[in-house]
Amino acid sequence: MRRKFIIKKTMYAIITVFIVLIFNYILFRILPGDPLSMIMRNPRATPEMVDTVSALYGLDKPWYTQFIMYFQNMLHGDLGMSFVYKSSVTGVIATKILPTLWMLGMAEIIAIIVGIFLGIVAAANRGTKIDVGTLGFSLVTYSMPTFWLGIIMVSVFCVGLRIFPVGGMQSPGMSFAGEGAQLLDILHHSVLPIITMSILLIGEYALTMRNTLMDVLEEDYILTAKAKGFSRKYILRKHAVPNAMLPMITIIAINLGLVIGGAIQIETVFSWPGLGSLMYESLSARDYPLLQGLFLLITISVVLANYLTDITYSYIDPRVKD
């Protein structure tokens, strides 16, 4: 039963990725703008030169041949050459993926833990000042624009208090005494973006946790547990929170999938050398292969995250099997 379920979900995931692949390909080709002029950046280029470059990138062939070529290369792990970086897309992405994973991954982990905790505290103390306070905090941070909070944080902690560096992931032009010192420097640079990002994420988790937990606390089986004389804490821990965690897992998975995509705004504000900045750059430079590569990565990670959620669900929620 469960094997059938997993096979079915795997098929769905593969089909989804394939469809998104086609969309990605078409989407960037119907964007206005000429990639050739962006590659060459030379208004006086002769028609021969244009032809040569065009052939180099395979742009002279009809669109379907280009698509088949793209698809074949992709299966070999070759995502093409970046127009801007003039090197392989896979290589460019690989250098940027770790900073993003580190920064957003940490921010997500902090936000998930704090958010769930706040949600539980608020729901358990429904209607009290604690609840109203948590609700207010969550709503304010949830609706705050990313760049705005980023700029405020920079101006307070970097410009005003001078505790943290303004941007980037490492101090420029330094040669470090050892790996320890370099790691410390990176850590120092990461604190502010991580905190900012987690503040922005906490609200969503806290609000969702509070709402689902409050719904669960209204259920009859909670009243049953109460009538059986179980303590409040026990009911919360054993009956309410486990059932309220189910919808949380969905949001966590979706957000984790998006982590890979990077947060364009936050990375731009903190000049963080991650995938978000890369996407912004390649979008303004019409770097199709790089954009395609990035979108492919995001697609796959979102689909994968959802796929893993479905599989996890089948293990933790006995009702989900087919």
Binding site: D220, T224, A227, K228, G229, F230, N243, R319
Partner: protein, 329 residues
């Protein structure tokens, strides 16, 4: 003689309405407004009324699951101990069965955990073997045979009737003395109802249980209970032995309910004499009798003064101005 399992005098549950800013408005919903009754050991008292009459709230208040006020609340002849410890020991002897077996079981627990949870939380079992033995006993007592077949299944794998049996098994495992059964069969198919009712009565006989049986179905109440209390808008209108209420009910509201009861073998001619109007909004109840604006007999006094409970006959009381007190035996 005092073999009352539970006795309550002047039970009140008021809900204050709040506006959207959480400020208290001056509107109060009197869900239960001065209810008094007692249930003897091994007795079934049915609480019958329309939806919104406060039956369920009364049941919850008895088990101290909602905030309530009362003059007297005695359990097994003793004043209820409302401290945490007192409530804990009370809740081992008083249990609740709910209307909807699809809602009252934690979907993520296996049947054996649901059934034995009270034992584990109260640390009444020491070994896994004992746990399995007790679970098997409880399930088989509730008519799920063989018990061990159900141990590791989840509620969603069971039918409504089986779920309700699981609910009963887990309520019975602490050998309670008193059970509030809140419409325990109204969500079940007609074919399964009898089985569950028979089981409940069987368990009552065996363990000398007392039930507060909450239902909107007067014929069902008549079938299973020793006494019936008719509730309307948070008040008991009439209370007495089941047969007396059904055959010699005196309160206008009781009579209206009995008129619409289906009777076997009787063909009705013409329309039923159905009570007119809706249950009024509980926030805007006037000072008089709660039933006055739907009552066919209402006169001026009914709108002005709330009627007292009057003795009509042996163990038979009703609250109506139009009735004569009868104190002879």
């Amino acid at each position: 003689m005092d073999n009352n399992i539970i006795e309550v005098k002047n039970l009140k549950v008021y809900f204050k309405l709040k506006n959207i800013f959480g400020k208290k408005k001056n509107l109060v919903v009197k869900a239960v407004d001065g209810v008094s009754f007692e249930i003897k050991e091994g007795e079934i008292l049915s609480l019958v009324g329309e939806s919104g009459s406060g039956k369920t709230t009364t049941g919850k208040a008895l088990l101290q699951l909602v905030n309530c006020e009362f003059d007297v609340l005695k359990f097994q002849g003793k004043e209820m101990d409302l401290t945490k410890k007192g409530l804990n020991s009370f809740r081992q002897k008083a249990q609740m069965i709910y209307q909807d077996p699809y809602q009252s079981l934690n979907p993520r627990q296996q049947i054996i955990d649901i059934v034995t949870e009270p034992l584990e939380v109260n640390k009444l079992i020491s070994s896994e073997e004992e746990r399995l033995k007790r679970a098997k006993e409880a399930l088989e007592q509730a008519g799920l045979k063989p018990g061990e077949d159900y141990f590791f299944r989840y509620p969603y794998e069971l039918s409504g009737g089986q779920r309700q049996r699981v609910v009963i098994a887990s309520s019975m495992i602490m050998s309670p003395k008193f059970i509030v059964a809140d419409e325990p069969v109204s969500m079940l198919d007609a074919s399964i109802r009898t089985g569950i009712l028979k089981l409940m009565i069987e368990l009552k006989e065996k363990n000398n249980l007392a039930y507060l049986f909450i239902t909107h179905d007067l014929s069902l109440a008549w079938l299973i209970s020793d006494r019936i209390a008719i509730m309307y808008l948070g008040k008991i209108m009439e209370i007495g032995e089941a047969n007396i209420i059904i055959n010699e009910g005196v309160h206008p509201y009781t009579k209206a309910l009995i008129r619409v009861m289906p009777k076997a073998g009787v063909k009705r001619d013409g329309l039923r004499d159905v009570l007119e109007g809706e249950v009024p909004n509980p926030t805007s109840i006037n000072s008089g009798c709660k039933f006055c604006n739907r009552c066919p007999l209402a006169t001026e006094i009914c709108f002005e003064q709330e009627p007292e409970m009057k003795r009509i006959g042996k163990n038979h009381y009703a609250a109506c101005h139009k009735l004569e007190e009868n104190s002879e035996e």
